[in-house]
Symmetry: C2
Subunit: 255 residues, 2 copies
């Protein structure tokens, strides 16, 4: 039977970590709201009683975690972590774990279909307008593989947004980020790839407008199956997502 301890566990975390944790607690608990200014570095130095270098190391941790950002004048403020920034970390992890395109495809089939189902139920006029806008743009850039791939990624992101389920939105993001580069490859290598892509988007949008769930699901599936067939003409589904992929993701992130 455990004896009730005389002493509390000594906290041996390094000082910069404690600084980060202290600020994190304030933000996550809601006592500091997104947009609120954290003090200047010098103020934090005074409050925590540690050196500025130490404070700065703590700040880096929080910046990377998306809880802190610097505004236009580089002053610190709390912020709401953006999904796609966090998802980049996850995509990176998936690459390093060498997941296969098969896993990516399988998971996306589930996630995108679920997004579509929710979007069909709940898309607002604005959501539909944004999707229509995207579709129009796709049609204009149908000859440009890179631009079309970007439209495709945006389109599905907009569908997920129209689902009005942020958990779903976040869950699909990492996989979606890894899809993106392949779409460009497929569109430029497979004849009719581009036109089939745009056609699928058109039908999907119509299904959402008509609140026709069955059609929405059907076109989402067909669209993904198209991707799969296109991909298999280029490479095996059991290939792992290559390291080089991340270079694209990085370029996007730093833009």
């Amino acid at each position: 039977m455990p004896v009730s301890p005389l002493f509390r566990r000594i906290d041996v975390a390094p000082a910069y970590q404690k600084v980060a944790d202290a600020i994190e607690r304030e933000i996550v608990s809601g006592r500091i709201k997104p947009g609120d200014p954290i003090g200047t570095e010098l103020e934090l130095v005074r409050q925590f009683g540690v050196n500025r270098s130490t404070v700065r190391e703590g700040i880096r941790v929080l910046e990377e975690g998306g809880l802190l950002r610097r505004d236009s004048s580089r002053r610190l403020q709390a912020c709401l972590p953006r999904y796609n920034k966090l998802a980049t970390r996850l995509s990176r992890a998936l690459v390093l774990h060498e997941v296969t395109f098969r896993e990516l495809f399988e998971a996306s089939m589930t996630l995108e279909v679920a997004s579509t189902e929710c979007a069909v139920e709940r898309a607002t006029e604005e959501d539909i307008a944004e999707l229509a806008d995207n579709l129009a743009r796709s049609e204009r850039v149908i000859g440009d593989a890179a631009a079309l791939a970007e439209c495709d990624a945006d389109f599905h992101m907009l569908v997920a947004k129209a689902s009005h389920n942020r958990v779903l939105q976040l869950a699909r993001e990492p996989a979606a980020q890894l899809f993106f580069p392949t779409t460009e490859m497929i569109v430029s290598h497979v004849a009719q790839g581009a036109s089939r892509l745009v056609e699928a988007h058109r039908h999907l949008l119509e299904a959402i407008q008509r609140r026709d769930k069955a059609a929405g699901v059907q076109w989402t599936r067909r669209h993904l199956q198209d991707w799969r067939r296109g991909f298999e003409r280029i490479a095996s589904l059991d290939r792992s997502v290559e390291h080089m992929y991340m270079e694209h993701a990085q370029a996007v992130r730093h833009k």
Copy 2:
């Protein structure tokens, strides 16, 4: 028409960021493999030609991103980011975005069902043994709400693992982390909550063993519906996931 530029864009990223990016590139590209040692701080100082404080800030960024860790002797080495560590960031983001339990429930319904379907197809003997082990433990701690909630979280994590789809595994993790604390509440507030939970696990495991997909899906749904009914006795599904939740997640993370 854009004129071809005379000068390349000047890279204005701060030095610590460039240090982080340089190391990140080496790891993500695969030139440095997980487990490989990065040099000491002093070596990095020499290689990059910047001050040690600058190097250290860069290191913090990568540590937080899960790409770098310090081994037993605190030397730096590349590493494979662990899903659940990264997922903690995401859970935090979901809390800050004040997602509702309804969103959580809806997304989990999709994700957990998909996990089950894959697990039914692909679970190995080992996966099943781990699940059986977990079930046995659940039965032993059926009176202890906190321990049972932990078992529940583990059980579903094991099912996801048995899906042998790491994208799915990662996608469900953030939502799962937020479920955890509610399970404890429900089990301790709702009569028969605990026994129904264990019963659902038992049937789910049997379904996986028999490779009976329909039964697996059915019991997963039923199990989640149970959660929902239990939760609605305590609070509204449209309540947002509270800030206080993260304190639990933090405790787990620092363990």
